[in-house]
Every structure is written in structure tokens, then in C-alpha cells.
Amino acid sequence: MSPRNWLPWTAFVAVLLALFLAFLYAPPDANLGDTQRIFYFHVASAWTGLLAFTVVCVAGVAYLRGGAPRWDRLGLASAEVGLLFITMAVLTGSIWARFAWGTWWEWEPRLTSAFVLWLMYAATLLVRNLVEDPARRARYAAVFGIIAFADVPIVFMSVRWWRSVHPVVVSAAGLELEPPMVLAMVVAVVAFTLLYVLLVGERMHLAALEEELAECKRALREGERVR
């Protein structure tokens, strides 16, 4: 059976299971109460975003080395879906900041790094939009994807150090994770990873269709000219 048959159902069941664990199985946090349940899907989307951008970098390297259009489609799909997940992570992070520390934005290192990541991958998609020639578009996007990914660790480290210089107004309340909470988190991560694979697959299929359509249109136009 091809993954297109079973993957949507597996992802669906995993998401249901993750929701069940996050809402009904994991106990409410001792300090933060029920609202702490944002945490599971916040972590899951941040993780998936990071995974997506790793895939963008790998796809970029593979494309530059071999030049197979398949890798470019993977890079495109992963950047787009990754941007979606990082958006979710930043939004839930901001909501988390509002409820835990009372401000909509706290320059917390992980959240800030996620936002910088967001900016970089929005830029990747812009590059794709602004280059006409498909081969050049693929090369440029691959190059920028690699640069952006190489920047991620150094951004994270610098933001961390920067944060340590600027006095923290509110302390980040440390989460004490009980085993059921860890389980809920892991399942949420797995569910979102499956969802990511599913979405990337669909987006790649879409990109393939777009290329095919462009090809057909070209054939059609040449046909007109021959006549």
C-alpha cells in the first residue's frame, strides 16, 4: 500500500490520540493550571518547524549536488509547511507569554530564535516568488536555504547570550514535567511530525502538478507556433 492511502488516517488517529492525552490524560500543571495544556502542541509545532528547516537544508544540498527537480520540490514543500508550523509555534508562544508572564511578547531565547527563523524562511519563499527561471529559482532557493540553516545555531546561541546580558524582568517559571505530561508531549510531537510528512507530500504533489501544467502549456504554445 502506498503511503497516500494509510498516512492520512495514521496522522488523523495520532492527532486524536495526542488531543486525548493533552486534555484528558495529562494532569493540569501545579502552578499554571489547565492553560499549561497549550504547551504540548506548542512544543510539537516548534519541533516540526525545526525539522522542516533541516529538511530544507538537506534538500538544498542534494539539489545542488545532483540537480534532480524532486529535491527542489521537497525544499519548496518543506519550507512552506515549516513556515506554517513555525507560525503556530510563535503564535502559541506569544499566547503563552501573555498568560505566564503577562506580556504578549517576551524576548525569551527560544521564542525569539523561532521568530528569526520565521523571518528567514519567509525570505526563502520570497526568493522563490521573485525568480522567473525555474532552474535558477531552484538553485537560489537551495543556496539561501543552506545559509539560513547554517545561521540557526549561531542565532540561537547569540540570542541566549544577549538575553543573559539584558536583565530578565519576569522569570520563566520552570515547568516540572510529570511522566504523563512527557508522554503527552512525545505523542503530540509524533502526531505533528506525521502531519508534517502528510502536508509535505501533498504540497510536493501540488508542485509536480504545477510543473506538469507549465510543461503542457509550453507544448501547446509551441504547437500553435508550428502551425
Binding site: 499566547i95 502531519l195 503542457c216
Partner: protein
């Protein structure tokens, strides 16, 4: 305080849902276009059909 939890989950699922709708909608539209174009191309490759077209002109 539960508003925030609600807000967070709304944000996540709305985004996912909208993106999914966007991708599947585009896919369906593209598949339709492709089918149309292929029929067009095939019709033209048959000499009879093209002769008929010429006559019509």
C-alpha cells in the same frame, strides 16, 4: 484564564485547516486544468481532428 488555552488551540487548528484547504483546492483546480489541456493536445494530434479544425476556419 482558559481563554488563552482556547486562543492557542484556535490559532493552531485554524492555520492547519486553512493550509490544508488551500493545498487541496489548488490540487483539484490544477488536476482539472491538466485534464483539459491533455484532451486538447490529444485532439490536436489526431490528423482528422486537425483537418476538421482547418475546415472550420
Amino acid at each position: 484564564m482558559m481563554t488563552y488555552l482556547f486562543l492557542g488551540y484556535t490559532a493552531i487548528w485554524t492555520l492547519l485547516f486553512v493550509y490544508f484547504l488551500y493545498v487541496s483546492g489548488r490540487q483539484r483546480a490544477l488536476e482539472r486544468d491538466l485534464r483539459w489541456i491533455r484532451e486538447h493536445l490529444e485532439a490536436r494530434e489526431q490528423p482528422v481532428a486537425s483537418a476538421q479544425q482547418q475546415e472550420a476556419r
